[in-house]
């Protein structure tokens, strides 16, 4: 089935503007509609697996018009976005009852989803920027949705740093337009291949790296994330950590580096260093946290480091003219880790929301012994923790294993050692979560704690099942060839992207 690509953007945007019309009385209708929108997006994303298509909006051919491009990489991100947004939306049905103005929340949520879908589908770099701003501005508002002093402060900090990132990206786009005369990514890539990298383009490239790294919260640029992600309502934390930093940061950075500018040895090393510093610093910072959600936020930085490291390692091998098989393997590991992290980190944030809703606190020292009181939340949290720590049957193990194999095969033994070491740190921090939240003694004031059932439980079980089953994505060749391999191929092909898109 071929879904017209703009539908992925139009459905969430139109639904988002439809919801506030129902006002206060139609809260139930608004909730149902919003859930229908996310579920239909998931179905359409599943229908688009394995397709490569170009869509010219309004029948204006490129480079005059705007095109939307669906390829393996976009499809992978679309899947991650729709899976996580479906689960988070389902979770919100019950969770957001604690807040007022649910219809506004739902419409901001859908705006964010629409923006992210636009970012991953856009083949036009300025359109990418516009969708990036839609998603970012919706997320600034959602981070401050609680309207408490702490939330507003975090939201303001996020907004300032996010706007700086957007400004960098806009400057870079202006420079690229001035130097190549095109805004279409395929044509920009062609122009750069023809003329080579002049000073203006090199400056634009560095601005892109800074801007997208700020959006992805890689380590020197991570200051906003540990405040913003814990302050948001739990389903939004799940969306932010699970997919927003990946769609706006990692995807856009990788697309620009690999497909537009072309990967070089120095860019490969920059990605590897960004990845390694994020992994190590994020893990060390996370281990010392006593706030449940803040720990998860720091751990997101660490896990995102794996993604960037894998992709950077692959890029370095390609740029050095090494064995393409190991480059593909490294990129496969990075992208698979991206998909895995989207699922288990959003699950962890959802369980933290469930714990917070039942107990009213997220300070690890005030919790404990909840294993008996919250059996389902506990089970989901354990599955996700095992997955993120890389314990064999769960999904996180496979992606980390692939990354280690790729690093060893490419003779970067020290990188393999760091990957294993950070994995150990991850295990320590999630054992800490298990110990202080679910094991140990139950404090007096938490004796009356009740499990959250209904939609919250369904959302958590859905993601937990995925955590267990996702390993199949690399083990079964048919699944690997339809979902992961096309995404890897987009990156290993690099600059051939432009000729492919222009031909289609």
């Amino acid at each position: 089935m071929t879904v017209p690509l703009p539908i992925f953007v139009a459905v969430p945007l139109a639904t988002a503007f439809l919801l506030p019309v129902f006002a206060k009385r139609g809260k139930a209708v608004a909730t149902v509609l919003a859930n229908l929108a996310t579920v239909s997006l998931l179905v359409m994303a599943l229908c688009s697996i394995g397709q490569t298509r170009v869509y010219e909006v309004g029948r204006w051919s490129i480079p005059l018009g705007i095109n939307l491009v669906l390829d393996g990489l976009s499809c992978l991100l679309l899947l991650a976005i729709s899976v996580v947004s479906t689960a988070a939306m389902l979770f919100s049905v019950r969770y957001m009852e604690q807040y007022t103005a649910k219809a506004k929340y739902l419409s901001l949520f859908l705006l964010m989803v629409g923006g992210m879908n636009g970012v991953v589908l856009s083949g036009d770099i300025f359109n990418l920027f516009v969708f990036l701003e839609i998603a970012s501005i919706a997320s600034y508002a959602l981070v401050g949705f609680g309207c408490g002093n702490e939330e507003l402060e975090a939201s303001f900090k996020y907004m300032v740093l996010g706007s700086i990132a957007s400004t960098f990206i806009l400057f870079a786009i202006a420079l690229v337009y001035g130097n190549t005369g095109s805004l279409n990514m395929a044509y920009i890539s062609k122009a750069i291949q023809g003329s080579g990298l002049n000073a203006g383009l090199a400056f634009a490239l560095s601005l892109f790296i800074v801007g997208f790294s700020l959006k992805a919260a890689l380590v020197p640029f991570h200051a906003w994330l540990p405040d913003a992600h814990p302050s948001a309502p739990a389903p939004i934390s799940a969306m932010l950590s699970g997919v927003l930093i990946k769609a706006l940061g990692v995807y856009a950075l990788v697309r620009v580096l690999f497909n537009v500018f072309g990967i070089s040895v120095s860019m490969g090393w920059i990605l590897i260093i960004l990845g390694l510093s994020s992994m190590v610093a994020g893990a060390f910072l996370a281990m010392g946290q006593w706030d449940f959600k803040r720990l998860l936020a720091y751990s997101s930085i660490s896990q995102l480091g794996y993604v960037i490291l894998g992709i950077g390692l692959g890029g370095l091998i390609i740029a050095q003219g090494g064995n393409l098989a190991w480059a593909s393997l490294a990129i496969l590991g990075g992208l698979f880790h991206l998909l895995n992290h989207a699922v288990y980190k959003s699950l962890l944030f959802l369980t933290s929301g469930s714990v917070e809703m039942s107990t009213g606190t997220r300070q690890l020292k005030q919790l404990g012994g909840l294993a008996g009181k919250l059996p389902f939340t506990r089970a989901a949290c354990t599955v996700a923790s095992a997955s993120i720590a890389g314990i064999p049957p769960f999904s996180g193990f496979w992606s980390k294993l692939i990354l280690v194999i790729a690093a060893v095969q490419a003779h970067f033994y020290w990188i393999a050692a760091i990957i294993v070491f950070v994995s150990l740190c991850t295990l320590i921090m999630y054992l800490k979560v298990q110990r202080y939240v679910f094991l140990g003694e139950l404090p007096e004031n938490l004796q009356q704690t009740k499990e959250n059932r209904g939609s919250m439980l369904v959302a958590m079980v859905f993601l937990a099942c995925l955590c267990v089953l996702m390993g199949l994505l690399v083990i079964i060749p048919a699944l690997r060839n339809s979902i992961l391999e096309p995404a890897v191929k987009v990156l290993t092909d690099g600059l051939e992207y432009s000729t492919k898109i222009i031909k289609l």
Partner: protein
């Protein structure tokens, strides 16, 4: 008495009509002359800003209340999306396909007439509604802002 002096009030109550009509003109002729939905919408909102300055916020809120403006805002965005989506159901079946131009005005010489350019004037109307309502809302919300005194009282 709320707002400014009687002179300002009288003049602005005449001028606001002219500004509002100019905004509508800019929107409707958006496809023929410079301007369009965004510029016209800003002018529409600015007529309300003039009222707000001359008569005070309460007067304006009676005239166009916050929930109504919010609904207009959503309707504008929905109309724009709907016009884009309609393109999917006509001949070329393409998002943002200018179906009115292609299907109904195809063989007519309509250049530089008011009714021409297919869906573009309709999109301009939707954008004008959206921009006018949301800019009005932004200014209204900014003018109702009060610093949070409850925190200081607690301390």
């Amino acid at each position: 008495m709320k707002g400014m002096t009687i002179i300002v009030k009288t003049i602005s109550s005449w001028v606001k009509v002219l500004i509002f009509m100019f905004g509508i003109y800019i929107i409707i002729f958006g496809h023929l002359t410079p301007g369009g939905g965004f510029a016209g919408g800003v002018i529409l909102a600015s007529s309300y800003v003039l009222l707000m300055l001359a008569f005070g916020r309460e007067f304006v809120e009676e005239n166009l209340s916050l929930p109504v403006a919010s609904k207009l805002d959503c309707v504008g965005a929905l109309l724009f999306a709907a016009i884009a989506m309609f393109g999917l159901f006509y001949g070329a079946a393409c998002f943002f396909w200018n179906f009115i131009q292609a299907e109904y005005l195809a063989d007519k010489e309509t250049a530089f007439r008011l009714i021409s350019a297919g869906t573009i004037p309709l999109s301009n109307l939707a954008i004008g509604l959206k921009v006018g309502a949301s800019l009005f809302l932004i200014i209204l919300v900014l003018s109702t802002f009060r610093p949070d005194v409850s925190v200081k009282e607690k301390e």
